[in-house]
């Protein structure tokens, strides 16, 4: 047998650099936009540490944290979505749709309003994400990950989790409830620095592991028998992938709340652009990061001085697309 020697992947490299450029532009725009408008040149100078103290303060102290948090969250959610789509072989199986982010939110809110447990939001959100995933897979049964049953189970779990969040919010003092509110709609306002650091570490680790198992993940697109014949350890790969997906979702939610549609839209965009046949992990992460940064930018600037949470913006942008996927007369490989 002749082994096919893979050509250098020009298309994917091009797509990735385009997305990276897009991410840089949106980041810079987001940094320069706000109540104090800073020119792009000054923004760059401030990032390099060569601006006047005032600009330096606005960019590096006030805005940079927020933009970096958004960037990390978007990348983590998009990676998690791309991974779960691959594992379930279902484009719709993303953390936002199967209720994982809602469950993580419920747990994170529990940690903030202080019901019994006082663990850090990151740990609680992780526990929530893991619980929801286990429930969704458990309820869908052995054959369930392929097909809609899995997803409706997720909708049910998401509804229960959202209701529990409401219960907790209605039972605590108004100040605690207000503190937890941004989480329930998905906003970068409530981030706490510790959670952002944990997310950055988790994202770096997750990305490295994913790069190491890319080949095994790529074979998951084929039938099980083919994947096994190609030397993939199916069970180990699936468990590792699912674990990473849960980790990334939980950590991202602990920072920005349920901005779930990013995990559907970014991988979709990446798949549409990249060469078919491979899982566009890097492209998804870049697209997700840009998406959340832009959503946050729009939310801050559209109705300024009002601030629309990024979760609402992403729902308004993302839902019509999801509807279009669902309502098209002949769906392209939905399962």
């Amino acid at each position: 047998m002749n082994r096919i020697i893979p050509l250098p992947d020009k298309r994917n490299a091009l797509v990735n650099s385009l997305l990276l450029a897009l991410l840089m532009i949106s980041t810079l725009t987001s940094l320069s936009t706000g109540t104090v408008q800073v020119s792009l040149a000054d923004t760059l100078a401030a990032l390099l540490g060569q601006a006047d103290p005032m600009t330096d303060f606005v960019i590096n102290e006030l805005r940079l944290n927020r933009v970096v948090a958004g960037l990390l969250c978007g990348a983590a959610l998009a990676l998690a979505g791309c991974l779960m789509q691959t594992l379930a072989r279902n484009r719709l199986a993303t953390p936002g749709i199967i209720g994982i982010d809602n469950a993580a939110t419920a747990f994170a809110v529990a940690s903030v309003v202080g019901i019994g447990l006082s663990l850090a939001p990151s740990a609680m959100a992780l526990a929530g994400a893991a619980t929801a995933t286990a429930l969704a897979f458990g309820l869908a049964g052995a054959k369930g990950t392929r097909g809609y049953r899995f997803i409706v189970a997720g909708i049910g779990i998401g509804a229960i989790a959202a209701a529990i969040t409401q219960v907790m919010l209605s039972r605590v003092a108004i100040d605690d409830a207000n503190a937890a509110y941004p989480w329930t709609v998905g906003s970068l306002n409530a981030r706490n620095p510790e959670s952002v650091k944990v997310l950055a570490a988790g994202l770096a680790l997750g990305y490295l592991v994913l790069m190491a198992i890319t080949r095994a993940l790529n074979t998951l697109q084929f039938a099980d028998a083919v994947a096994i014949a190609l030397g993939t350890r199916l069970k180990a790969t699936r468990i590792l992938g699912l674990g990473l997906s849960v980790l990334l979702t939980g950590l991202a939610v602990s920072v920005c709340g349920p901005v779930g549609l990013v995990s559907l839209l970014a991988p979709e965009l990446a798949r549409a652009l990249s060469r078919p046949g491979k899982i566009p992990l890097t492209a998804s992460a870049l697209a997700g990061a840009s998406f959340l940064v832009v959503a946050d930018l729009l939310g801050r600037s559209l109705f300024s001085p009002l601030e629309v949470p990024a979760g609402i913006i992403s729902a308004i942008v993302g839902s019509p697309y999801l509807l279009w996927i669902l309502l098209r007369p002949t769906p392209r490989s939905l399962t």
Binding site: L92, I97, L139, G141, G147, Y148, R149, I151, V152, A153, I155, G156, I157, A159, I160, A162, A163, I164, Q166, V167, S170, R171, V185, F303, L306, E307, V308, P309, G311, I312, A315, I316, S319, P320, L322, L323, L326, L327, P329, T330, P331
Partner: protein, 340 residues
């Protein structure tokens, strides 16, 4: 011919005791609703007040607080239960629930928009809620006509959930724009039967009356439709007309319920699920049984919402979601999707 009429007698004989039991259960729930509350008036004092003793505080609580919310919960449950049964029978989809499919959210969004634009009279809100529900219902029916989607219950539900999410996001955005409107909308949108004036009920009753007449007219043709569209045509019915009437009835019912209690999801899923389990697949019997079961479910959920978090109250929508989501899971988990 004889066998046929014997069958019919048998059917009514089976239905009557079921209706009676459900009716008695509903009466018990109504009694519980009048007796139990989150406040300091105990069930014992309430009972004495109801049977004649004068206790001004208790009398006020019962007649001014508990009685209105009981009536509103009963009417809401009736409307949502019927709407769910109708929609499920017509789309032949056990998951087709007005709340899940976005009809309630459409109605809610319309009302939020109206409040933002300055509407505050109860009448206007009711009409707007009907229009929003009609638009949502039209969308759902249009979606089921899309090739392939009608035969795929779960995909339809997912589309509905997405539509609901979109409308909820738009509603939240409206709430951000105007603080005064936001307070009014927030009070209304959480889904609750507490603190609603009976005047709203008066404005919705005509719509519910119209819907009930439509239901009476459409029940038999709908039963024929469940044999398949061709069979219905063969029996002399017009599927297009039936579909239109059902759409109207569902929109009127959901619009009224939303105007009364705000968007409540899952009620239209739970009630027909229970009644189908009791009465079997015939839509006419299901509809009859929805009359006592729907109010019992909503009112029961309301009583629970008062007691669970006492002395505070939990939003009713939360209780219905906690009851409804497991039912959704149970339906999906069943080995084979039950077809209607």
């Amino acid at each position: 011919m004889n066998a046929l009429s014997a069958n019919r007698v048998l059917a009514s004989r089976e239905l009557l005791p079921q209706l009676l039991v459900a009716g008695i259960f509903l009466l018990l729930v109504i009694l519980a609703s009048l007796l139990l509350g989150a406040g300091p008036i105990s069930a014992h004092v309430s009972l004495e007040t109801l049977t004649g003793s004068t206790h001004p505080d208790a009398w006020f609580v019962i007649s001014e607080l508990r009685f209105p919310r009981t009536v509103i919960a009963v009417v809401t449950g009736l409307a949502l239960g019927l709407a769910g049964a109708l929609l499920q029978s017509m789309t032949r989809n056990p998951l087709a629930e007005p709340g899940l499919l976005g009809v309630s959210a459409g109605s809610g969004f319309a009302v939020a928009l109206a409040i933002l634009l300055g509407a505050s009279t109860a009448t206007l809100t009711t009409v707007v809620a009907q229009l929003g529900a009609l638009a949502g219902c039209g969308l759902v029916i249009a979606a089921t006509r899309v090739q392939g989607l009608g035969n795929d219950p779960v995909r339809l539900v997912l589309a509905g959930a997405t539509l609901s999410g979109l409308l909820l996001a738009l509603t939240s955005m409206l709430m951000l724009i105007d603080q005064r409107a936001a307070d009014e909308i927030r009070f209304w949108i959480t889904g609750s039967v507490a603190g609603k004036p009976l005047a709203v009920l008066a404005t919705t009753l005509p719509f519910i009356g119209m819907a009930l007449m439509l239901v009476l007219a459409v029940a038999k043709p709908l039963a024929a439709m469940s044999l398949g569209e061709k069979a219905a045509v063969g029996l002399g019915h017009h599927p297009g007309r039936i579909r239109l009437m059902v759409t109207l009835a569902v929109a009127l019912l959901v619009g009224s319920a939303t105007a009364l209690a705000g968007p409540l999801i899952f009620v239209g899923l739970v009630v027909p699920f229970i009644t189908r389990a009791i009465a079997g697949p015939d839509i006419r019997r299901t509809l009859w049984l929805c009359l006592p079961v729907g109010p019992a479910v909503v009112l029961g959920a309301d009583v629970v919402s008062r007691l669970v978090a006492a002395p505070a109250e939990m939003p009713l929508g939360v209780v219905t979601a906690l009851i409804g989501a497991p039912v959704l899971l149970a339906i999906v988990r069943a080995g084979r999707m039950p077809s209607l």
